[in-house]
């Protein structure tokens, strides 16, 4: 509990880190209807693709310097020596980021989805999808950023984004499932299955990666 | 099993209009292999040459 509170407070102070990606997401969602002005009546056609990509990019931005500050000032080294379970710390960090960035973005997804499609049932179904996918993307980009710790976030994104693409495919298919009223829950469980594997493995892998950086 | 599948050399090249696809793929495969073999062989030669140079 102490670690959670500490990470919570640390992130709360770094307004740019959590507010920035949320605002970028907001701007991207505003930019979408502006760029397809001539299609105003058919906005929902491409809306969901833009939504998933916007979530993906926002999560990439959110994790940009997740370990960098701690790495540069030696905090990571200290934590590594002191804390027996480094992976717990990583999980807590990801959870905090998800609470600060993932949940607000999911709420915004619901609002924008409702605003664009005017379909409450559909928008309510989008909410759990964005909640789960944002957590998955966060985990993946955290790993990418751990890999390219002091080499810039582009490199990390480059190597981990291919792993996120299958999730995007599933998200795309789940929209079709919602529209055709078939097997929506199946897709939710598929994403939850992926998440449960990722949630366990990513913190472990990240802790090994950071150890490799510090050695 | 080992019968020539075409009636003439021209037919084998043309392949009922599909020859352009088949032979271009063959050219790409051969070219890629050739480039990589040449590249690595020359790299190895260069390193060996450098290592042989007196310091």
């Amino acid at each position: 509990m102490k670690i959670i509170r500490l990470e919570f407070l640390k992130l709360k102070k770094k307004t740019r880190t959590w507010l920035g990606p949320v605002l970028v997401f907001w701007l991207m969602m505003i930019a979408y209807p502006l760029t397809v002005e001539f299609l105003q009546e058919k906005l929902e056609v491409g809306f969901f693709s833009v939504l998933w990509i916007a979530i993906l990019i926002s999560m990439m931005l959110a994790t940009e310097d997740i370990f960098l500050e701690d790495f540069n000032d030696g905090t990571l080294e200290q934590i590594m020596i002191k804390t027996s379970s480094f992976s717990t710390l990583v999980s807590v960090k990801i959870l905090t980021y998800w609470i600060f960035v993932g949940i607000p973005i999911s709420i915004l997804s619901f609002i924008f989805s409702f605003g664009t499609t005017e379909d409450l049932a559909l928008s309510l179904m989008i909410f759990p999808l964005s909640i789960i996918s944002s957590y998955i993307f966060l985990n993946l980009f955290v790993m990418g950023n751990a890999l390219s710790l002091n080499k810039g976030s582009v490199l990390g994104a480059l190597v981990t984004m291919p792993l996120a693409l299958p999730v995007l495919i599933v998200l795309g298919k789940s929209i079709i499932a919602i529209q055709l009223s078939i097997n929506y829950l199946g897709f939710i469980f598929l994403l939850l299955g992926c998440l449960s594997i990722i949630i366990v493995t990513v913190p472990l892998v990240v802790s090994y990666i950071i150890k490799a950086h510090l050695e | 099993m080992f019968e020539f599948a075409f009636n003439s050399f021209y037919e084998a090249i043309y392949m009922n209009g599909h020859g352009i696809y088949v032979w271009s793929v063959l050219a790409i495969v051969c070219l890629s292999l050739l480039v990589f073999f040449t590249l690595y062989s020359s790299k190895i030669k260069q390193i060996k040459k450098k290592l042989n140079e007196p310091n």
Binding site: M143, L147, S148, K151, L155, L158, V159, P162, L163, L165, P166, I169, K173, T201, V205, Y208, I209, A212, H213, E215 | M1, F2, E3, F4, A5, F6, A12, M15, N16, G17, H18, G19, Y21, V22, S24, V25, L26, I28, V29, S32, L33, F36, F37, Y40, S41, K43, I44, I47, K48, L51, N52
Partner: protein, 243 residues
Amino acid sequence: MIKKFIHQFASPKTYLFQVNKFYNYIFFISVFIYISSITWGLLFTPEDFVQGNSFRIIYLHVPASFISQSLYAAMAVSSIVYLVWRVKLAAYLVIAIAPIGAMTTFIALISGSIWGIPTWGTWWQWDARITSTLILFIMYLGLISFHNSFSNYEKADKLLSWLVIVGAVNIPIIKKSVDWWSTLHQSASITLTNKPSIDPSMLYPLIGSIIGFFGLILCLVLLSSKNQILIREKTKSWIKDYV
């Protein structure tokens, strides 16, 4: 016992001498098998009833596609060997395989696209297997650029190995994508469990072309790893004797 075996036979020095001993045999046998299988497949197999002569691209596309995925699996195994047993040679192999994997994936993509024109009427389709292969290609390029961005080789090797292992999740997705998602792409003609859905007169040259291409790619991997060893071990005294 495994550890002892690995350390005995996987020292860069032993490996390099073994490569020099067997390289020519593997190379010439592979060239012979590949050329004869390709000639058999392109000129001596009967025309396909549905696809016509364009089906002959199978002898060039399938080996590349099969090996592009196998090379990633080989990288994953090498990464595990490196991280678990700290075998340097395994780390050299990981980075040696990456460009060759990228090349075979590129061949698979291009040949598939060209094959798609007469067969599907389009050179590209955002179909599951094609997209996954494109992802694999980008991953190979990502791995190469990732490794090159570090000046400290040892750190780069470790991080790259982790990345390869994590990326290995993508391989079963590629394999299963055809069954999971609706696709234009046909299912595999040869599987380990079922009887091949391809006629023997077409099957034998296909197997030959896979073996031949595998041999040639193995030769490339041997050359590339030799190159890596020469770069990374250049300060060792035995390298001077070797050269």
